[in-house]
Symmetry: C2
Subunit: 209 residues, 2 copies
């Protein structure tokens, strides 16, 4: 297993280009086998000390969904209060979550207290455990997109409140709230760019030392 | 652009399976165009508010390399002091960095103070800026592996000291130190598993709420 074929390399770049943050979902369900297959990608992610600290809560009950949506609404109202003038007007018109429609919703946590891995690699940078969870989410996202599924990452939330509302075990901290489902449309342009909030710079700052 | 072909989906899973943390590199150089191509993947990553907060320093000079290696050695000695008995013996025998051999070494930072994105999505969870950098690293890693390149993430470091030693701009925080090069061997098994430090659990904790 050396390099992968050129065609695959090109398609991989294409996948990354078409992987977007989706906030507009169709409401039809996603079959359980497809979701399970995508979740399997978590276990292929790198993790510090092989700690595999990712933990997933499927947010399914009406009570849990309502708590999460209410959390978003509060955080979003607070965020809006941080802008003024044209920027506030623009912000209030943005669609920043698919929580009202997405058929599958996942709260992804990091178990900061896991004994697995015996703390290897995490002594000076304990945040690498959470970074491991982010890597796993990225693999999940690509796997889902390869199947045509859309994923949207909601971060406008009070993470401690969500953990409490979802009765997350002690020591778990929220890394991401993911909305998953079939997208209403496919695009290679971020919605924040289309909406005029922010243009991609696309240049990577690289300096030598 | 709907779903990708089944063959691609299968190869993507294979890529994730063969993406390993590499610590044993051949010393022959990697051509600049290949590295540039892999770095281009950063710009395809999702970022909170489209903030694109990733910043990369190529660690190239003998002085910078020596500072980074010395940083690792200090942190690793401290980490070793945290283990005793058999675990200490096992730890001291592990190869945890490829910094002595890897031809390309990158210090990857997050610009926590970037104005890009106007803080959208990062008010309640500012850590999502760093998480954006981790997503970009993950895309870089997959792109590199697809070309047969190995990547190793070193986290046994004092991040503040490294930022100082590399003269990183104010407000940048270290997310990862990456070693990149042609791997001495390819495997689908983590070195920590082979070395007997930690077995992968591979089961994903999933509960419903």
């Amino acid at each position: 297993m050396q390099a992968f074929a050129i065609d695959f390399q090109n398609d991989l770049t294409k996948l990354m280009r078409w992987r977007r943050d989706v906030r507009r979902f169709r409401t039809d369900p996603v079959d359980a086998a497809t979701i399970t297959h995508c979740l399997d990608a978590f276990s292929l992610a790198p993790s510090v000390g092989l700690s595999e600290p990712w933990r997933v809560l499927k947010v399914e009950s009406p009570t849990a969904r309502a708590a999460a949506l209410d959390n978003f609404k509060s955080a979003n109202m607070q965020a809006l209060a941080g802008y003024s003038g044209e920027k506030a007007k623009l912000y209030s018109g943005l669609k920043l979550t698919g929580m009202e429609d997405a058929p599958v919703q996942l709260a992804v946590f990091c178990d900061d207290q896991t004994a697995q891995g015996a703390n290897l690699g995490a002594a000076t940078m304990p945040e690498t455990r959470r970074y491991s969870v982010v890597g796993a989410i990225t693999l999940f996202w690509l796997t889902a997109r390869a199947r045509g599924l859309g994923v949207g990452w909601v971060s406008i939330l009070d993470p401690a409140r969500l953990a409490r509302d979802l009765d997350a075990p002690e020591g778990w901290s929220l890394v991401a709230y993911l909305c998953v489902g079939w997208p209403q449309e496919n695009t290679d342009t971020p919605e924040l760019e289309t909406a005029g909030w922010q243009t991609r710079a696309r240049h990577l700052v690289i300096e030598s030392r």
